[in-house]
């Protein structure tokens, strides 16, 4: 009884608009995370020594592609935002595209895969950022955030956007899976949903 009520609520027209709004939010969150981390770069000159009276300066750069975890972060966020864009396009423009009930299932499975992808990327980048921020005295890895403060701040902003994307993708995936219970009612704004038999 409760399951059928949930299914009915999940397939009403108003919920389609909610799903569209959630997907737009997730798209913008993951896209901004990818862009902010992709353009994350800071160059600074430090004094590394002294020869007599003249100081020796060296220039150091902190870029996102020095760390493989951040590269994975950028790529995964780009992929998830592309997935959300595709789903938004399917909902708005793909009126009656349907092939033996495959549409709902493929949306649900793709949403699940993207949830796992973005959670993996956000967590890997978060733990690497934690090592960069606090260092690790057991492994004798020094922290870099006291010298490259802007780089760390931008990275933190991208991480927050990505974690917002994780929560949004989880909600979207839950809604997509609950839509599987009542097929024949996929979300589309160009065609009227077919009547439930």
């Amino acid at each position: 009884m409760a399951v059928s009520k949930l299914a009915l609520a999940a397939t009403s027209g108003k919920n389609c608009k909610v799903l569209l709004g959630l997907r737009l939010l997730a798209f913008s969150a993951t896209l901004s995370a990818a862009i902010v981390m992709g353009l994350n770069k800071e160059t600074k000159t430090f004094v590394v020594g002294q020869v007599g009276n003249t100081p020796i300066k060296a220039t150091f750069t902190a870029k996102f592609d020095h760390t493989p975890a951040f590269v994975f972060f950028v790529v995964a966020n780009a992929m998830v935002s592309f997935h959300n864009l595709l789903m938004i396009g399917l909902q708005i423009f793909g009126g009656e595209i349907e092939f033996t009930g495959f549409r709902l299932l493929s949306v649900a499975i793709l949403d699940m895969l993207n949830v796992t992808l973005i959670s993996a990327a956000a967590n890997a980048a978060a733990f690497m950022a934690e090592v960069g921020k606090n260092g690790n005295k057991h492994a004798r890895w020094e922290k870099i955030c006291d010298r490259f403060a802007t780089y760390c701040d931008h990275g933190a902003g991208a991480l927050i956007a990505a974690f917002a994307g994780v929560i949004l993708m989880l909600i979207i995936s839950a809604v997509s899976i609950s839509r599987l219970v009542q097929p024949n009612k996929y979300c589309s704004t160009t065609a009227s949903p077919s009547v439930v038999p």
Binding site: F127, G132, A139, W141
Partner: protein
């Protein structure tokens, strides 16, 4: 007959995932090595790195959850809830594995741009055991992805095979 083999397949998968997650936890907890580095003596344990602690906690949660779901009766209505929980557990597994691999990769190859030296040269047995634990975590993740697809196929019935 078909339903019995399906249920047996689900049980076997879940038991295998339970064993893999438990193996990952045990392998990482028992990894501890002392090495002398000139005058200094360095002890490498898994709890030095936050990512490994998260890996141990996540895999412990997963193994306890799989063990409990092994005993769920077939007719219970909770199987629909198990689908949602399976998705969350898969997310937990991938995030913990990804974080641990990211940090272990820095430990193995260092990061020349940040001036971080690799530590695997000094504690090779610790590194090997961590690698083993990560591989077990990967096996648990793959098994849980199969279990997720399995649960959706049998509980939610997406192809409308059952009237």
């Amino acid at each position: 007959m078909v339903k019995l083999t399906q249920r047996l397949g689900g049980l076997v998968l879940r038991f295998a995932a339970f064993c893999a997650a438990l193996g990952a936890v045990i392998a990482m907890i028992t990894s501890r090595e002392r090495s002398s580095f000139f005058v200094l003596s360095l002890v490498a344990k898994y709890s030095d790195l936050a990512a490994f602690k998260y890996f141990v906690i996540a895999n412990a949660i997963v193994s306890v959850y799989s063990f409990l779901v092994l005993f769920l009766p077939k007719e219970s209505l909770l199987w629909k809830f198990v689908v949602v929980l399976d998705l969350m557990v898969t997310m937990l597994l991938t995030s913990s594995l990804s974080a641990a691999v990211a940090v272990a990769q820095v430990g193995k190859r260092g990061n020349a741009n940040a001036g971080w030296l690799p530590i695997c040269g000094q504690v090779p047995r610790f590194c090997d055991q961590i690698t083993g634990a990560l591989i077990a975590g990967l096996v648990a993740l793959v098994l849980y992805v199969f279990l997720l697809i399995f649960s959706i196929h049998h509980v939610v019935d997406p192809f409308l095979l059952r009237k």
